[in-house]
C-alpha cells in the first residue's frame, strides 16, 4: 500500500472510530468524505440497502486507488476532503430577478438566442408563474409512457424501477474502472435514467425535456441508458448555455447498454465555466463515458462538442461486443485562453466484423493545450474488424498546443485500421479573403472554424447544431487580432 493510501485509510478509519456521525436532518453534509458521509447521502435519498452497499463498496475501492496523472493536463491536486459531497438542492441561492445576474452572462445568453424564460431558469432566478415547460414536460412524459419508455431522474428510477437499475448499474463502467468513476459511484448525486423497450423507436430527441428538467444535476452526475433489442433513441446531454457553477470538480459517469439491433445516439454540448482569461477558476471536468454494444448489429454513436471547462478529461468509448456492431465517435474540442483538454475515445473490438469510426477535430487558441487521446483495440476474436480514425488539429496563434496520442493494439490479422491526422493553422490568407468580402474578423474565424468542424456538427440534431455553431464562435471570441 502506498503512503498516500495509508494516510487516507488511517484518516477515514479514524473518523469512523470516533463514532463521528452526520445529522440526518441537516441539508448539507460537512466537508470531507468517509463512509458516514456516504450513508448520509444514501439516507437522504432514501435509497435501498443494496445501493448503499454498492456505494460503500465503491468508496472502499476508491480509497485504495490513486489519482491518475497520465493525461496531458496539469492542475493543482484536488483535496477530496475539502469538498462538500451533499447539499440539498433547495439550498441554492436564488436571485430575485435577472437584474441581479452577471451582465456578462446575460450578454452571452443574448448572443446564443436563449429565451428569457430559459435564461431565468439557467441562472436560478425564481420564477413566479409555473414555467410553461412543466406542462410541456408532463405532455412529453405521457407520450413516452405510452410507448413504455422510461425517462426520469436517477433517484426516481431507483425508487420506481429498482430491478432495472440494479441490473445495469456498473455493468458498463465497473466501480473499479478508474479513480473518478469509483468516486462517482460512491457519491453520485443524481442524473438521468433512460430505458427504451424492445422494438420501440423513441419518437423525439430526448433533449427538450432534459434541458427543462435536469440542468442542475450537480457535480457527480450518473446517467444510465438501456436500449433493448431493436430499439432506437437519440439522447442529448447538457445545455448550450454557459452554466456557472461553484463546484470545481465534476466527475460524471455515463453508461449505455445497447442490445441487439438497437441504436443509441448520444450527443453532448458542454460549455461549463472555463475560467477567466488568465486561467483562474473554471471547472475540472473528469468524466467517464462508455457504452457497450452488447448484442449483434448494435450501434452506438457519440457526438461531443466540448468548449467549456478549465480541464477536460473525457473519453467516450464503445465496447463492440456483438458481431457486426458499430461504434462512432465525433468530437469537436475547442480550447482558448488557459484551457486544457485531453479527450478522445476507446474503440474496443471484440465481436466479428465490428466497425468503428473516429472523427476528432481539435481547435486550440490562446495559451491552451488540446490533446486527442484515442485507443483502437482489436481483440483476437474480432475477425474482419474495421476502424477509421481521423484526427485534425487547428491552431490559432502560436502560443497554444495541439497533441495527438493514438494507441492502436491489434490482435487479429484480418482487421483493417486506418489513421489519418492533420495539423493546420488558420491562415491569415483565409481571414483576409473573408474580410475582403466584407466579413469582420471574428465572424471570419467563426466561419472557418465551423467549416472545419462541419463533419462533426452535421451529426448533431438540427436545433442543437445551430446553437453549437454560435457557441464555437463565442468560445473563440477575441482569439484573433
Amino acid at each position: 500500500m502506498s503512503k498516500d493510501d495509508q494516510i487516507l485509510e488511517e484518516f477515514t478509519s479514524k473518523e469512523y472510530e470516533h463514532g463521528w456521525t452526520v445529522d440526518i436532518d441537516s441539508d448539507q453534509a460537512p466537508k470531507g468524505l468517509n463512509e458516514d458521509i456516504i450513508r448520509f447521502i444514501s439516507a437522504k435519498k432514501e435509497e435501498p440497502q443494496w445501493l448503499l452497499d454498492w456505494r460503500l463498496d465503491a468508496f472502499r475501492v476508491w480509497s485504495k486507488m490513486q489519482e491518475p496523472h497520465w493525461a496531458n493536463v496539469t492542475f493543482p491536486s484536488i483535496n477530496y476532503q475539502d469538498i462538500i459531497y451533499y447539499s440539498a438542492p433547495k439550498q441554492k441561492v436564488q436571485s430575485k430577478s435577472l437584474d441581479e445576474v452577471d451582465p456578462e452572462l446575460l450578454e452571452t445568453f443574448k448572443k446564443l438566442g436563449i429565451s428569457l424564460e430559459e435564461q431565468k431558469r439557467l441562472t436560478g432566478v425564481a420564477v413566479d408563474a409555473v414555467i410553461d415547460s412543466v406542462s410541456v414536460a408532463t405532455t412529453f412524459k405521457d407520450k413516452l409512457g405510452e410507448l413504455g419508455i422510461i425517462f426520469c431522474s436517477f433517484s426516481e428510477a431507483v425508487k420506481e424501477h429498482p430491478e432495472l437499475v440494479k441490473k445495469y448499474l456498473g455493468s458498463v463502467v465497473p466501480v473499479s474502472d478508474n479513480y473518478y468513476a469509483a468516486l462517482n459511484s460512491a457519491v453520485f448525486s443524481d442524473g438521468s435514467f433512460c430505458y427504451i423497450p424492445k422494438g420501440v423507436r423513441c419518437p423525439m430527441e430526448l433533449s427538450t425535456y432534459f434541458r427543462i428538467n435536469a440542468a442542475n444535476t450537480g457535480q457527480f452526475e450518473r446517467t444510465l441508458i438501456v436500449a433493448e433489442d431493436n430499439s432506437y433513441v437519440s439522447y442529448l446531454e447538457g445545455c448550450t448555455a454557459p452554466m456557472r457553477d461553484e463546484n470545481q470538480l465534476h466527475a460524471a459517469v455515463v453508461e449505455i447498454y445497447v442490445k441487439a439491433d438497437a441504436e443509441v445516439k448520444y450527443s453532448t454540448v458542454q460549455n461549463w465555466y472555463p475560467g477567466d482569461k488568465n486561467g483562474k477558476g473554471g471547472i475540472y471536468n473528469l468524466v467517464t463515458k462508455r457504452g457497450i454494444c452488447a448484442g449483434n448489429n448494435a450501434k452506438l454513436s457519440w457526438t461531443q462538442v466540448e468548449t467549456g471547462s478549465a480541464v477536460t478529461w473525457k473519453y467516450p468509448s464503445c465496447i463492440l461486443k456483438g458481431d457486426n456492431s458499430s461504434g462512432e465517435f465525433y468530437s469537436v474540442a475547442v480550447t482558448n485562453n488557459y484551457q486544457q483538454a485531453d479527450t478522445g475515445t476507446k474503440m474496443i473490438h471484440i465481436g466479428r466484423n465490428t466497425k468503428s469510426r473516429i472523427v476528432s477535430k481539435g481547435v486550440s487558441a490562446g495559451y491552451s493545450q488540446n490533446s486527442y487521446r484515442g485507443q483502437v483495440y482489436v481483440m483476437k476474436r474480432a475477425t474482419g474488424a474495421r476502424n477509421f480514425s481521423q484526427c485534425d488539429s487547428l491552431l490559432m496563434g502560436n502560443k497554444c498546443g495541439a497533441h495527438t496520442f493514438p494507441y492502436i493494439d491489434i490482435e487479429n490479422k484480418s482487421s483493417m485500421v486506418e489513421h489519418e491526422a492533420t495539423t493546420s493553422k488558420i491562415g491569415e490568407d483565409q481571414i483576409f479573403y473573408c474580410t475582403q468580402r466584407g466579413i469582420d474578423e471574428e465572424s471570419a474565424v467563426a466561419l472557418i472554424v465551423n467549416g472545419y468542424c462541419k463533419e462533426v456538427l452535421n451529426q448533431l440534431p438540427m436545433e442543437f447544431a445551430v446553437e453549437a455553431q454560435k457557441l464555437l464562435a463565442l468560445t473563440l471570441e477575441g482569439s484573433v487580432g
Partner: protein, 253 residues
C-alpha cells in the same frame, strides 16, 4: 472615385511601391500592366488592405474617404472588391454560405435590409445566370478542389453578388484557357455600369482583347512609368517590356 497620390509601400522592409499616382473615375476601366516584380499585385493588395504590407508614404482617397485608414472589411463594405490571383480554399464552407454571410454584413453596413434565405437565393440565382456559373459549384467547399477556371469564375460571381464600386482584378487571366477567359471577361463586362470602375491588373495583353480598357498604365519598379490608351497595350504585346524599362531607367539615371 479613387485618387492615389504618391503611394509608397513596403513588405518586410523591402520597398515595393515607390510613389504611385492614379485617378480612377466612375465608369472607367484601367489596366495596370508591367513586367514581373514591378509591384502590380502589391498595389492591388495595398488597396484592399492586406496587412502584410506597410504604407510608408502617400494617400489614397476612395469616394472622399481615407482608404488607407479603413479596415479591410470596411473597404469591402464601402465597395472595394479584389478578385484574387490565388483564391483561398476554406474547407467545409460553401460559397453560398460564405456569400450569405458576406452579403448580409455588407448590406447592413450600406444601410440595406439583410436578406433572408429565400430572397438571398432569388438574388443569387439572378447573379448566377449573369456570370454563367453552376449552382453545384457554389454548394461545394469554397475553392476546394476547384480548377483554375472554376476559381476565377467564382471570384467574378462573388463580385456580381457584392456589387462593388471599384473592382480590382488581380491577374484574373492567369491559369485560364481561352474559353474560360472569355466567360470571365464576359461576366466582368456585364457587371460594368456607369457608376462603377474596374482596375485590371495583368501581365499580358490577351485579357484586354475582351475587357477593353479606357486607360493603360505601365508599372515598373513600383512606379507608373507610362500611361496611355488601349493602343499602348497592343504596343507592349508587340514589343515586350524591355523598351519601357530602358526608357524608365534612362530617366531615373
Amino acid at each position: 472615385m479613387l485618387k492615389i497620390n504618391n503611394l509608397h509601400a513596403s513588405i518586410e522592409d523591402k520597398q515595393i511601391l515607390n510613389g504611385i499616382n492614379l485617378k480612377v473615375k466612375p465608369g472607367e476601366v484601367h489596366a495596370i500592366m508591367g513586367p514581373n516584380g514591378s509591384g502590380k499585385s502589391t498595389l492591388a493588395s495595398v488597396l484592399a488592405g492586406r496587412e502584410d504590407y506597410e504604407v510608408t508614404e502617400g494617400q489614397a482617397d476612395f469616394q472622399g474617404e481615407d482608404l488607407l485608414e479603413m479596415s479591410p472589411e470596411d473597404r469591402a463594405r464601402a465597395g472595394v472588391f479584389l478578385a484574387f490571383q490565388y483564391p483561398v480554399e476554406i474547407p467545409g464552407v460553401s460559397t453560398i454560405n460564405f456569400m450569405k454571410t458576406a452579403l448580409n454584413q455588407v448590406r447592413e453596413f450600406r444601410g440595406q435590409e439583410t436578406l433572408d434565405a429565400v430572397s438571398f437565393l432569388t438574388f443569387m440565382k439572378e447573379k448566377m445566370k449573369l456570370v454563367e456559373i453552376d449552382q453545384s459549384l457554389l454548394s461545394r467547399s469554397l475553392n476546394e478542389g476547384f480548377s483554375g477556371g472554376e476559381k476565377k469564375r467564382n471570384e467574378i460571381f462573388q463580385m456580381a453578388m457584392l456589387e462593388p464600386k471599384l473592382s480590382i482584378l488581380d491577374e484574373t487571366d492567369s491559369g485560364l484557357d481561352i474559353d474560360a477567359l472569355k466567360i470571365v471577361a464576359n461576366g466582368v463586362n456585364k457587371l460594368k455600369k456607369k457608376d462603377n470602375a474596374t482596375i485590371v491588373v495583368t501581365h499580358y495583353q490577351r485579357l484586354l482583347d475582351y475587357i477593353v480598357p479606357d486607360y493603360v498604365h505601365v508599372l515598373y519598379n513600383g512606379r507608373i512609368v507610362k500611361s496611355g490608351t488601349k493602343e499602348l497595350a497592343q504596343e507592349l504585346e508587340a514589343k515586350g517590356y524591355d523598351w519601357i524599362k530602358e526608357e524608365a531607367d534612362a530617366t531615373t539615371a
